[in-house]
Structure formats: structure tokens, C-alpha cells
């Protein structure tokens, strides 16, 4: 059973990541009152990119992008999708938190090897943004850990199926709102699209990628979006469970399939709400982004943490 | 306008001034251009709008044209009888076209003189940077002169390059 889960989990994440990229382009096009590309357009792009002969800048240039892909796939093995969790250990949440940074690190390594000043600007912006949103993110996760008294993310999902979603429970409501406020920064959509700004810095860290490296970069982008939303759904929206009604009347195989479907539906709803914000806002500058993230979401997360400590 | 005309005529000789609606046309010998321009700048005409050139091949002369005007906040000093634009013209010989730069008086003359050097072949002494501004190739005759035959140049340069089969 475990082997099937280890193979199936990254495959589901890959397909969902690409589906999110295509869904983003289609919904943005419909908001702009035009038809868009078909939803499977990222797959066509990746097929085309794999058949182009790109230029490589050296050994670290190629290995950096593979490192970031490896980091993202490793994080997916620790995330529960429904009741499927291939590597569920006691301290799952902390492992996710620090392995999540391997993605930007890999791209920064390979970008340093490419001799382009646009890459350096893009990477510095990416790391400043990552530094920014880690502060409220850690406060939120501290609040969740204190409330449920456990670090294992599978345990958190199971407790939510028994006692209701975290987003609805009173001590964790402020932390949930703070997480919603920094979710565009984690995903890299507007108003925090400073990293991959196409017009200002010629698409930032991916300016020297062509051919198969750009295909890996696109896959990495899709996986990043999957991880960001999956963490939110698992911590605050109950994971792959609909108030615990499944465990009572179905067996485990059907329950896992239904769990995956419910999980994906919840992710799509959160992603579409994020897309609506993406369609309306322009792009912040990096100092405006820092000023925004360190004022309101940090304050809300801090107040949420204090409320949780007081209640327990 | 009359007062300004009298003032200029009294300070300079070898000069020819005509006055139209709001503009004043001054033709002067090429040796007196620098003193005339600093004189006009002190009178309040501080904006050098354009430096241009006309090619007169029959008389074997190039005519350099400076257009000066006054900024808006100085308009209150002038009454309606003063000029709005002053056009200063000199003529230099065509064969060895050398002239003196006016960057000491008007600092924004640098790109205009660079353009005239590239397109008409006039050399300005004292200019810090007389390098090409628009064009990439080098031409034997400067392109804006009237004896530069563009069709002959195109036939001889571009149509001689063979197509790749």
C-alpha cells in the first residue's frame, strides 16, 4: 500500500500543478472578456520545450534546477492528500517548513551561474519576499501547533475531521485570516508577482532558461502552487475530509479516492479566489510588499498566537 | 522689438536684421557668432531650441541656423514689442567645413552639433565627443548634402549583396 502511495502522490501533485497553470490562464482570459487557450495548454508548452535544444551554462546551472525539483517532490511526500500520506512521521510539519525553501534555493543556485544581471535582481527579490512571508507564516504555524498540541500534520487533519475545521474554530480564526492575506505572496501571483515580472526584469530568474530547463521550471512553478495551497487546506480547511462522514460507511480504497477528490475540490475553490485577486491588482514594488506583509498579517498572526496561548 | 533691434545694431557691425510678426531674423558673419549668442543670452533668450543647417551647393556655402527663444517666466520682463523667437544665421565655406562650438554658452548644443557633424560633415572645434549618433555605416560624402546620390548608393552597396539560395 505504501509503494502505491509513494508513486501516486507526486503524480497527482504534478497533474494538479499543471492543471492549475492552465486553469489560471483560462480564467484570466475569461475575466478579460476573451477566449483563452485550452486548459491543457501547459502540457503542449512542455512537450514543445522538451524538443528544443537549449544552451547550458555549466554544471551548476543544470543541477540547480534539478535540486529545486527534488525539494518540491520531497515536500509533496510529506503532505497528506486525503488519507494518503506516504511519509507520515511525528514531526511532519517542521520538515515541510524547512524543505519548502529548497525550491527557491535551487533556482538561486542555477541563476547565479547564468551570467545575467536580470537573474541577480530576480533572485534577490525572491529571497527578500521569502524572508518577508516566513515571519507571519511561522507565527501562524506556532498557533496551530499550540492549539492541537502536536507537530504531526496527519494528526492535525484527523483532529479536524472530529472537531470541525480550524478556520471555523474560534481561537484559530485570526490565524486563518492572516494566512489568507499572505497566500498570494507564497504562490507568487499578483499583487506579489515581483519575482517573475516579465516587463521589468525580463522574467527574473528564468531569463536564461530555454528548452528543457524551462520545462523543469514550469513544472516547478506548478508544484510550488500546489504546495502552498495544500498546506493551507490541510491546516485550516480540514484536509481531504468532509466533516468525517466518510470513515463510517465506506472501505479504505473508496475512502482514499473520495478523500483525494474532496481535497482537490477545496484546493480549486481556494485557487479560484486567489485568481480573482490576481486579476484585479497591479504589482507591488518589493519595498511596498515588505511593508504590507510585516504590518497587518504579522499583527493578526501575533494576536492569534496570543489568543491561543491564553485559551490553553 | 525696435529697442532690441537698435541695441543689437549698435553693438555689432556687419549684421543684417529683419523683423516679422513675432520673430527676428539675424544674419551675421561667422566670426561674430559667439559674442552675439552670449549677448542674446544675457538679454534673456536662454533657450537654444535647435541648431540646423542648409546646404547651398551653388554658392559653395553651408548655412548654420540657431533658433533661440525665451522661457515662459521671462515673458513678464518683455513687453509685446519684443521678439518671441530669434533666428541667427551664418555661412561657412563648404569644402573644409570647420566651425567653433557653442557649448560654453548653451550646454544643450552637444547632440545637435554631433548630428551636424555626422550628417553634414561640419567639424566643431572644442566639442568633447564627435562620435556617430544615428548611423552605423560610414559614408564618403555626408548623407544630407545635396550631392549625395541615394539611389546610386543603394544600387552600388545593397544590391550587390547576393541572395542565399
Amino acid at each position: 500500500m505504501n509503494i502505491i502511495e509513494i508513486i501516486l502522490s507526486p503524480v497527482i501533485a504534478l497533474l494538479m500543478g499543471l492543471f492549475f497553470l492552465g486553469l489560471a490562464r483560462k480564467i484570466m482570459a475569461r475575466i478579460h472578456w476573451r477566449y483563452g487557450p485550452p486548459i491543457y495548454q501547459p502540457i503542449i508548452d512542455i512537450i514543445r520545450l522538451f524538443s528544443q535544444k537549449a544552451m547550458s551554462h555549466g554544471f551548476i546551472f543544470e543541477m540547480g534546477i534539478i535540486l529545486s525539483l527534488a525539494g518540491s517532490f520531497l515536500v509533496i511526500l510529506f503532505l497528506p492528500i486525503g488519507i494518503m500520506c506516504p511519509l507520515s512521521t511525528g514531526g511532519g510539519l517542521l520538515v515541510i517548513l524547512y524543505v519548502m525553501l529548497l525550491g527557491p534555493l535551487g533556482i538561486a543556485l542555477s541563476g547565479g551561474e547564468a551570467a545575467n544581471p536580470n537573474t541577480s535582481i530576480g533572485i534577490s527579490r525572491k529571497f527578500i519576499l521569502a524572508l518577508c512571508y516566513e515571519v507571519p507564516l511561522l507565527l501562524i504555524i506556532l498557533a496551530v501547533i499550540t492549539h492541537y498540541n502536536t507537530i504531526s500534520i496527519v494528526e492535525i487533519v484527523n483532529r479536524q475531521s472530529m472537531s470541525g475545521w480550524s478556520f471555523g474554530s474560534l481561537p484559530l480564526l485570526l490565524s486563518g485570516i492572516a494566512y489568507l492575506l499572505i497566500l498570494p505572496a507564497i504562490l507568487g501571483i499578483r499583487p506579489f508577482e515581483v519575482v517573475g515580472a516579465a516587463q521589468e526584469i525580463s522574467s527574473g530568474p528564468s531569463v536564461e532558461y530555454g528548452g528543457k530547463y524551462l520545462a523543469f521550471n514550469t513544472i516547478e512553478h506548478g508544484l510550488n502552487e500546489f504546495i502552498g495551497i495544500a498546506l493551507f487546506v490541510n491546516l485550516f480547511l480540514g484536509g481531504g475530509d468532509l466533516f468525517g462522514i466518510f470513515a463510517s460507511f465506506v472501505d479504505t480504497v473508496l475512502e482514499s479516492i473520495l478523500g483525494v477528490i474532496v481535497f482537490l475540490v477545496k484546493m480549486i475553490i481556494v485557487f479560484v479566489i486567489g485568481l480573482f485577486i490576481n486579476a484585479v491588482y497591479p504589482r507591488f514594488r518589493i519595498e511596498q510588499a515588505v511593508k504590507y506583509i510585516w504590518v497587518w498579517p504579522t499583527l493578526l498572526a501575533f494576536v492569534g498566537l496570543i489568543i491561543v496561548i491564553i485559551v490553553h | 522689438m525696435k529697442t532690441l533691434k537698435k541695441k543689437i545694431e549698435s553693438s555689432f557691425d556687419n549684421i543684417n536684421i529683419t523683423v516679422t510678426d513675432n520673430n527676428m531674423d539675424i544674419s551675421i558673419d561667422k566670426n561674430g557668432i559667439v559674442t552675439l549668442l552670449s549677448f542674446l543670452k544675457n538679454m534673456g533668450y536662454e533657450h537654444l531650441a535647435l541648431i540646423s543647417c542648409v546646404d547651398l551647393p551653388d554658392e559653395k556655402l553651408l548655412e548654420i541656423v540657431y533658433i533661440l527663444s525665451a522661457y515662459m517666466e521671462n515673458d513678464k520682463k518683455f513687453t509685446e514689442k519684443e521678439a518671441r523667437n530669434i533666428i541667427v544665421k551664418t555661412r561657412i565655406p563648404r569644402d573644409k567645413a570647420n566651425f567653433v562650438t557653442v557649448i560654453d554658452i548653451f550646454e544643450n548644443a552637444e547632440p545637435y552639433e554631433r548630428e551636424l557633424h555626422e550628417l553634414f560633415g561640419i567639424h566643431f572645434q572644442g566639442h568633447p565627443r564627435l562620435t556617430p549618433l544615428f548611423l552605423e555605416l560610414e559614408y564618403k560624402i555626408p548623407p544630407f548634402r545635396k550631392d549625395f546620390d541615394t539611389r546610386k548608393f543603394v544600387k552600388q552597396f545593397f544590391e550587390n549583396i547576393p541572395a542565399v539560395e
Partner: protein
């Protein structure tokens, strides 16, 4: 469109990929670039054909040369074209790359772009409307299907003739030859 025919995808996925995902580099040559933003925005939507603009030549597939090409621009065009990865397609817009157009007797513009980089197709007009852009894209699909859009192979095989033509215009070039 034969985008829905699964059998063709399995027979030659690379060709179908090149057809339906043409990313054009956003290089604004000359006066024809005024017709590209209308064909990208909402009224004449180019994204449903798979055509979007990208910011760098390393990610691009398609090079649109819109408008007249002066000698300074030709240097930039050659350097950009040589940076693009291999299966790449060029389309000349307007009548100026075809035979000089309005500037046929000018001392500073080149007359036929085909002598310096290989061009796969031309679009007539001064400037062509956005509907003409889409007709060009669909014609390029037919050419890719029949394996006739092979400008990049011609560049590789006849590189010394192209380089000789480029050196005739500029004298010596700053960059070394691409294919030795």
C-alpha cells in the same frame, strides 16, 4: 483545427507541440509593432492560438520582424536570432522586409531581409491588420506540418554565405561565427 486529433499527437508530438505553442519574442522593430498589442489583447485574442509574447529570446520560438530594418537594428536582430534555441521560425511583416517597402532608396535601411537571416514566411501590408497576423499563424501551421518551415536548417547549412553577407554590410563583426 486538428488540435483534437489524438492519433496525430502520438505519431509526432514534437511537431504538434511546435504548432500549438508558438511563443513570440517581444522585439519591437520599426513601426509595425503598433499592430502587435491589439492582437494580444482582448479584441483579437492571440492566446487561443497558443501565441503569447515572452521577454527573452531563450524562451522563444517565433521571431516577428515588423517593419523596416535599419542597419543598427540589423545587428540586434542577428544577435537575437542566434540566441534562440533550435527549431525556430521567422515571419516578416509588412512590405519593408520583403523588398525595402517605402524606404526602397534609403541609404540606411536594408532592402531584403532574406539575405541576412532566413525567413519562413512574409505577410503583405503596410501594416497588416491583426486578422492578417492570425492568417499567417495558420499558414505557418500548414508549413510546419509539411516540414517546409526549415529556415533554421538552412541557416545552419549555408552559414558561411549568410555570414559573408552580414560582413559585407558591417565590415567586421564583434561576435565569432556561430557554426564553424
Amino acid at each position: 483545427m486538428d488540435r483534437n486529433q489524438i492519433k496525430k499527437w502520438f505519431k509526432s508530438p514534437a511537431k504538434m507541440g511546435h504548432k500549438y505553442s508558438l511563443h513570440a519574442i517581444y522585439f519591437c522593430t520599426g513601426c509595425g509593432i503598433i499592430e502587435i498589442p491589439p492582437s494580444i489583447t482582448a479584441r483579437w485574442d492571440a492566446e487561443r492560438f497558443g501565441v503569447i509574447p515572452v521577454a527573452t529570446p531563450r524562451q522563444a520560438n517565433l521571431f516577428l520582424i515588423t517593419g523596416y530594418v535599419s542597419t543598427k537594428t540589423l545587428k540586434a536582430i542577428i544577435r537575437t536570432y542566434e540566441q534562440m534555441p533550435e527549431p525556430k521560425f521567422t515571419v516578416g511583416f509588412g512590405s519593408c522586409p520583403i523588398n525595402g517597402g517605402m524606404y526602397w532608396d534609403s541609404y540606411n535601411t536594408i532592402k531584403k531581409l532574406d539575405k541576412y537571416i532566413p525567413v519562413d514566411g512574409w505577410i503583405a501590408g503596410c501594416m497588416p491588420r491583426p486578422e492578417a497576423v492570425f492568417v499567417a499563424v495558420t499558414h505557418l501551421w500548414t508549413l510546419i506540418d509539411k516540414d517546409m518551415a526549415n529556415g533554421y536548417i538552412k541557416y545552419r547549412e549555408k552559414y558561411k554565405y549568410y555570414r559573408a553577407n552580414q560582413e559585407k554590410v558591417f565590415g567586421t563583426l564583434d561576435w565569432p561565427p556561430l557554426f564553424s
